[in-house]
Amino acid sequence: MKFSVSWLKDYLKTDADLNGIIDAMILAGLEVEEVENPAEKLKEFTAAKVVKAEQHPDADKLRVCTVETKDGTKQIVCGAPNARTGMTAVYAPLGTYIPGLDFSLDKKPRKLRGVESSGMMCSATELEVGSESDGIMELSDDVEVGDPIADVLGLNDAVIDFEVTPNRPDWLGVTGIARDLAAAGLGEVNIPDVAEIKGTFPCPIEVTSDDTEACPVFMGRLIKGVKNGPSPDWMQARLKAIGINPKNMLVDVTNYVSFDRCRPLHAYDADKIQGNVTARRAKAGEKLDALDDNTYELNEDMCVIADESGPVGIGGIMGGAGTASSEETVNIFLEAAIFDTLRTARTGRATGIVSDARYRNERGIDPASCREGLDLATQLILETCGGEASDIVVGGSEPVAQDAVEFKPVDMKRLTGVDMTAKRMKEILETLGFGVDAKAKLDDEIWKINVPSYRRDVFQSADIVEELIRIEGFDALPADSLPREAGAAKQVTTPLQNRVRTARRVLAARGFLEGVSWSFMDRATATSFGGGDNDALVVDNPIANDLNYMRPTALANLAQAAQRNVDHGAEEVRLFEVGPIYLGDGPKDQRTAVTSLVKPRPSRHWAGTSEAYDAFAAKADLFAVLTALDQPGERFQIGEPVGDHWHPGRAASLRLGPKNVVGTFGQLHPAVLKKLDVEGPMVGFEIYLESLPQVKSKGGKTKQRLEKADLTPIRRDFAFLADSSVQAGEIAKAAGNADKKLITASRVFDVYEGEGMPEGKKSVAIEVTLQPRETQLKDADIEKVSKAIVAAVAKSTKAELRG
């Protein structure tokens, strides 16, 4: 909302300067966005008198003028045809920036065809105050030399633009702003009552509202015999200042009242209206050629104003072209109505029309303002255009005052902590236009407060509290820190939050960079990364077509990011992200995935190039995370990778039981990467933190007692012949489980397949560590456990001890 300070001062008596007004607005909740003072760019320009204007000796089109200026008498060479002796003109001294030409005058006098010129006389275009260009500006003779041009032109008037929050449509009128600023202590509000204009004849057009939900009240009156023409200068200046181009009185007056009172009006050419006027719902198939030269298809949800020929306007949004007033209009029908806000907003969205009327009507207009608006506009029209006004006709019903709001005075202290006297409360409320019983006391349980019709946002006690503290100022709030619980601060994070924190720190410590990537991706990409098949995860109005699906994994995003990094010259890229993935649209379908992705690039090194980051490196990083989360990697089974985006042979899932997949690691499928337009190989992992079992703490924080064996452990090697398809890890695991008490470790140290091995077989060698506890192991003991190991491995994997 834009308004000029001079306009505000019509209704607010104040000594405050511009900064004082701005500060008061900010502290009352009117968030100032921009302040523009046209006087700023005109401050160098002053009035001057041309004492003598003579023909230039060497140039037909130039005149040599002797000019009396604030800087003394100057000789100025001027090319304007209207420069003449005795005129009052606009003088720009040397060095002045000329806004309309976007350059500054030389600082020293300059010769034009041999005659020296010290300064310039300017046109309206050069000052950017008008568009006439047939010469320099001519000021009225009573203007004195040295008068600032901004003052002479009445432009020394700052324009303030501020944000109107949706709850305060009354700020969309200058009177509403004045009222709040007065309450905020800036001065005294003085909004003169609009005089009632009695009609001299009955209105020949009847009005009705067919749907009083959509249009509770519709008022109008005819003004006959008007002579349309330009609106008065003051009105034009005001509209121009806030960026509205004046057209003619009938159009300007509706704009003026709209901004002055937040009271949109519409002026129809009464001679173009056929019969009576009704506010009703549109019929399917109806159309309207609107004032903006577009044709709109109407539907039954919309409220229209119609005459007997059909719609002549979309209620509260825009009038029709066919009945619009024009320069030639003689008889006008003036409309002021109230429209349902939600319907207006829906219609506005459906038609896409953006108008000042829509903006006001969808926020809500003072329902009691119709009559006042009509009278104010009528008065202004009669003054400027003459004519004769009819009675006001009313369709629907004039609104009754809304119910009084029950305010509990105790709520002020309860909700704000501020002690405020009843006197101060009443003072604030009354300046804002609320009605309070003069006898109300602080210890009354309830005050019944009458809410002014222009306040559409006050319904309950808390709303009154807001008015009181807003006007009193938030500086009045006590500075009370939140009371602390006795004792030291307690842990507030959940186990999942701690897992996130740990996983992130482990990966960063292992050389990974943490990324944050979009939660949405291309549905096609989601489909190649194991998702994409759930319509509920489609974003209906995506910001971009390739961000239209909630991601099933962050792998694709990280792969693309890794490629971008490589394209920008990065060497090996190691990225991770801990964030959401979406299995469905229900509140429990979101998972927290820890996702890593490496684009390997072994760096050359003087001691030999290191091995490339591969699936085993990913497994090491994954197990480091799991270990940090108290989830020893050995507890998981290794299974087939889940999803076609993994390399079928160089990736594996991590499972707890056949159903619960807690993650997958390894190399990504080359074909999927190609589709994503990234260069493989890429290696990574993904684990779902919610799928990991809870770590149960046994009896508080005490650690398990260390059983440190005094006796030296014994290591024994076993070589097994197994089918190629057998997981070597399973052999080691089975061996380890053969005697859980005695065996403390079991690991694979060699795998051999190929020459010398039977077809389809491989050799797996494991080292088993036996830890004797109380007595040394005898040969018989070792023999016994060895047999158990061989048996356990055979049972689990069918592998046999190699002879």
């Binding site: 309860r414 909700l415 006690s461 807001e466 507030v492 720190r505 990966l507 995860l537 990225l575």
Partner: protein
């Protein structure tokens, strides 16, 4: 025999010279065996002692023993010298050019937004706030209606909402436009007193120099029977001083409108914008930093709480911008690009765990 004894000095001189002349430990050992070994010259001489008279023995015994001890000592000394020489010779061959680089190890870093989440959580954690979380895909009720945004309310328009595809009944879920739905979920599932902060991803359909379609928020919610707006103001002022790690964060509260709070306020912080970066806690400018207010009675009612019994405040702030203000990132867009240089430059070392007592950053 005396002749032998008479020769002892000469023998000692001879052997000593030989010891000194040895050049390696093996030669020294050979010499030791030849002279002092079981069949060595000195040992054989000592064997003669048995054949001597007691008087002779008295003279020859100590002489021979003395000789043997002196030679053993000399050998030990020589041995140490030779060992040292050998080690020195070995070390002289073991030089490395240590100007060469070790095997490269990547350096990781944490994303600044995630770090700032932790900073915020540690400050509010100290004030007794737990961390609550909720889903990104929300229904209309939790994201709007329960928060006192009635159907068709113009404030809904300001949210630039992403909608999910409609289900069979035509209902559309939304990507949450703020983390406030978690306030609703918390109030509906937990009895007051409540103190929670809610960090998370939020989504609005807006993408330009200062907006990204996904960004991060932290909201806070306090519900009990006594917390008022003065607490709100001081709690947030306390937070800002702690977050920006300044002694004094001067704040300014301005009235504003949010459907879910009443009264509502925006908070500005005093800052200096004269230089390249914004300095909080000094200067003459004000910078808007968050929105807040007392929880609207309608919201309390929607969650089954009686607004005459329960009250409290809520606030919300953009974490990406907060991180920007504290750490000086000039632009929001790279936050979501996983650019290695950007993360390395603006990110955090993994061992920097923000705590109030150990330092936030």
């Amino acid at each position: 025999m005396t002749a032998t004894l008479d020769n002892l000095d000469a023998i000692e001189t001879e052997i000593s010279t030989a010891i000194t002349a040895t050049t390696n430990e093996a030669a020294l050992e050979d010499l030791r065996v030849a002279e002092l070994g079981k069949k060595g010259r000195v040992s054989l001489m000592m064997r003669e002692l048995g054949k001597m008279s007691p008087e002779e023995k008295k003279v020859a015994g100590p002489a021979l023993n003395g000789l043997k001890n002196r030679l053993n000592d000399a050998i030990a000394v020589r041995k140490e010298v030779l060992e040292t020489e050998a080690l020195n010779a070995q070390l002289a061959n073991e030089t490395q050019d240590l100007s060469l680089p070790p095997r490269p190890e990547p350096t990781g870093a944490l994303h600044p937004v995630m770090q700032v989440f932790e900073e915020v959580a540690s400050i509010f954690g100290d004030m007794g706030f737990a961390v609550a979380e909720g889903p990104d895909i929300e229904d209309d009720f939790h994201n709007f209606t329960a928060l006192n945004f009635p159907e068709g309310h113009p404030a809904r328009e300001d949210h630039d909402t992403f909608f999910m595809a409609p289900d069979a009944d035509g209902n559309r879920k939304v990507l949450r436009t703020h983390t406030s739905p978690v306030q609703i979920r918390t109030m509906m599932s937990q009895k007051p007193p409540i103190r929670v902060i809610i960090p998370g991803r939020v989504y609005r359909k807006d993408w330009d120099a200062t907006h990204t379609p996904m960004f991060h928020q932290v909201e806070g919610l306090v519900i009990d029977k006594t917390t008022h707006m003065g607490h709100l103001k001081q709690c947030l002022t306390d937070f800002l001083a702690a977050f920006f790690e300044v002694d004094n964060a001067e704040t300014r509260f301005r009235p504003h409108f949010f459907p879910f709070t009443e009264p509502s306020a925006e908070m500005d912080v005093r800052c200096d914008r004269s230089g390249d970066t914004i300095k909080v806690g000094q200067g003459t400018s004000w910078l808007e930093i968050l929105g807040s207010g007392m929880v609207h009675p309608n919201v309390l009612r929607n969650c089954g709480l009686d607004p005459d019994e329960y009250q409290g405040f809520a606030f919300g702030m953009g974490v990406d911008r907060l991180a920007m203000l504290k750490y000086g990132m000039p632009d929001l867009r790279p936050y979501f690009e996983a650019d290695a240089d950007w993360i390395s430059n603006y990110g955090f070392k993994p061992w920097l765990l923000p705590t109030l007592t150990g330092g936030l950053s």
